[in-house]
Subunit: 338 residues, 2 copies
C-alpha cells in the first residue's frame, strides 16, 4: 500500500506477489504500482493540503512526530503470534491487529483477553492469501457466497473485476467482530488484510466504514491514499480519525538493506501521525511452510521485520529523531475528548 | 480406542485428556476405560469367535499376520504433515488419513494429488480438539448446528449426553468428502477423528456408514470393538471390511517404555489384519504450541511415534516376526475381487 519511502531510496515499480513451485500461483495486486508511487508524492504534499496534521488537531505541538508501530497478521500462524507477543512485550511494537478467521486466532484472543491494555484491532480478513495453508469465513459460507471458492475457503486474493458483494463484506465483517468480542477481545480499531477493503472501491470501503461506525471503532486510513482513492475522503466524515502517513517496506528492498530502509524512513519522517505497518514473525519451519509459495511477506521477511523493530538501533533512532509512540487506543481517547 | 496391549504390560485404567494452564480445559473420553479393557480381552478371543480372520477370508494362509501402519491426523498441522510424509516415504508408515477441515489440509491434499498411489483415507473430523488452534466444519456452519459452538468452531470434544444430530454428521461428512475429491484426493477408506463416529452410538455410526457406502469406501472398524458397541456389528453387512484388531499406544505408557510397548505388541501380534494407529509428528515449536494444553497426543508423544516407526528396530521386528504390511487400497482390491 502507499508508502512513505525514504527519499534517497531508488524506486522500482515492479511488484511480484507470485513465484513458482508446487501448487503456487501468481497473484496480482490491483494498482499497487500507482498506490506506491502516489504515496511518495503525498508524503510530501498531504500536510500542506490539509492545513493541520492529525497530531496538531489532537493538541500536539506543530512539528510533533508520532508513530504507531503496528504488527499485522496476528492469528495467522503461531510463528507470527509468538514473534508479535515478544515484540509487544519488549516495547518495540505498540499496536497490532488480529485475523479472526485464522486458525491461530484462539491463541492470540486468549492473550488479548488476559492483556486488556494491549492495543489490538481487528485485521478484517476476506482472503486466504496462501496456497498450502488456508481458512474460510467466520460467517456461514452460504451467507457470503461472493467471498468463498468452491471449497469454502476465502479466495487466495481477488482478481481484477472479481465481483465481491458489499453485503457479504458487511456480514463477514460483523461475524468477525462478533466472534472476537465473544472470545474476549476488545478491539481498538479496524484495518483490512491486504488492504482489500481500502483499495477495491467505494462500495466495499463504505461497507467496512458502516460496520466500524456501528461498533464505534476507527478505521486505519491515511491521507496518503486519498488522491488515488478519492472515495475514501468522500465517505469519511470529520469525526473519523485519518492518519497522516503510513510506512511499510516494499518487495524491492533487498534483505541487506532492510534496516537502512527503516532508518531512512524514520530519519525523513514527516510531522503528524504515521503508522508503520510491520510484519514480525519467526523464520521457523511452520512459517517457512505456510509462506513457501513466494518470498514476499514470507518467513525471512517477517524475521527481518522482527529483528529491526526489536533492535537497539530502532530505539536509538526514535530518541535521536524525537519520535514518540502513540496507539490507536490513545488516538480514540483524544478524539473522544475533543 | 480398543487396544491390543502387550500382555505383559501393566494396565492402568486412568485416562486424562486434560491438564491445567491458560484457557485449557479438561475433556473426558466416553467409556475409554471400558473400551481399552475390552480390547485386551477381545485380542485373544475374537479370532476364535468368528472362525476365520480377515486375512484368511481374503485368501491368506492361516496364521498370516498383516498390519496396516496407519498415521492419523494429517492436515492438522504442518509438523504432522511433514513427519507423516517423511515416514511414508521411508516406508515406515504405509497408510494414513487426512483431516479435511483443518488448516493444513491444502498442503497434504496437494501431496496426495501428486502421489496418487499413496494410501490416504479421510479422517472424518467433527471436533476441533485443541484450545489455542481451532477449525470449523467444511459445510456451512448453519447447516450443521449441532456440531459447532457459538463461535462457529467444532466443539473441542463432545460431552457425555451432548446431542449430536446424525443428519448434521451426514452433511458434514459429505462436505468433507466433496472438498477432498475437488482438491484431488482419491481416498481409500474412512475413519473417524477421536473415534467419535464409532463410539457415540448407532445413529452416528450409521450416518458414517451410509456416507461410506455412497462413496464405496471401507470404514475402519475392528472386531475388537463389537462387544462394547454391538451396534457396529448390527449395522455392518458381510460385504463390509472389518479388521481383526487394532493397536494404539495409550497414555499410561511412560515415554521411556514407548519402543517396548510397540515391540511387545508386535511380538504378541495375533494372526489376521491389525491396524496400528500411530501419530507421527515433529516435536517443534508449532506442534508444541498447538498441543500445549495437555501432553496426550502432544508434540513429544508424536515425535516418539515418529522415532519408533522410522527406526531400524521396527523394520527388524517385522522381519523377525514375519509380519507383512497391507494397505486399505489392497484390502479394497482383494474384497472387490472376491
Amino acid at each position: 500500500m502507499s508508502t512513505c519511502r525514504p527519499e534517497t531510496e531508488e524506486f522500482d515499480s515492479g511488484f511480484d506477489l507470485g513465484s513458482s513451485g508446487g501448487a503456487a500461483k501468481k497473484y496480482s495486486v490491483v494498482n499497487l504500482k500507482q498506490v506506491l508511487l502516489l504515496g511518495i508524492v503525498l508524503c510530501a504534499s498531504s500536510v500542506a493540503a490539509s492545513g493541520q496534521n492529525l497530531a496538531e488537531r489532537l493538541g500536539y505541538a506543530p512539528g510533533t512526530k508520532l508513530i504507531i508501530v503496528h504488527a499485522d497478521d496476528l492469528g495467522e500462524t503461531h510463528a507470527v503470534n509468538a514473534a508479535a507477543i515478544k515484540a509487544i512485550e519488549s516495547g518495540a511494537v505498540n499496536s497490532a491487529s488480529l485475523m479472526v478467521p485464522c486458525p491461530w486466532f484462539p491463541e492470540i484472543a486468549d492473550y488479548a483477553k488476559s492483556h486488556p491494555d494491549a492495543d489490538f484491532g481487528l485485521h478484517l480478513t476476506l482472503t486466504s492469501e496462501r496456497v498450502y495453508y488456508r481458512w474460510g469465513p467466520a460467517a456461514p459460507t452460504d451467507r457470503v457466497p461472493s467471498l468463498v471458492d468452491e471449497n469454502g475457503y476465502f479466495y487466495h486474493d481477488w482478481e481484477q473485476n472479481q465481483r465481491v458483494d458489499a453485503k457479504d463484506v458487511e456480514i463477514e465483517s460483523r461475524a468477525q467482530i462478533k466472534r472476537a468480542l465473544a472470545m474476549g477481545v476488545r478491539p481498538t480499531h479496524l484495518d483490512s488484510h491486504q488492504y482489500r477493503l481500502i483499495m477495491t472501491g467505494k462500495d466495499l470501503f463504505d461497507a467496512m466504514l458502516r460496520v466500524a461506525h456501528e461498533n464505534k471503532l476507527p478505521v486505519f486510513v491515511t491521507r496518503d491514499w486519498f488522491a488515488d482513492h478519492p472515495y475514501l475522503q468522500e465517505s469519511l466524515s470529520p469525526a473519523d480519525i485519518v492518519l497522516d502517513h503510513t510506512v511499510t517496506i516494499d518487495p524491492e528492498v533487498l534483505p541487506e538493506k532492510w534496516a537502512e530502509f527503516y532508518i531512512k524512513a524514520l530519519t525523513n519522517l514527516q510531522p503528524g501521525v504515521t503508522e508503520f505497518v510491520v510484519h514480525p514473525g519467526f523464520d521457523n519451519e511452520e512459517l517457512r511452510a505456510a509462506t513457501r509459495e513466494r518470498s514476499t511477506w514470507g518467513a525471512a521477511w517477517r524475521q527481518r521485520d522482527y529483528d529491526f523493530f526489536t533492535s537497539e538501533e530502532f530505539r536509538k533512532i526514535l530518541a535521536q529523531q524525537n519520535i514518540k509512540l502513540i496507539t490507536w487506543r490513545e488516538l480514540g481517547h483524544r478524539v473522544a475528548a475533543k
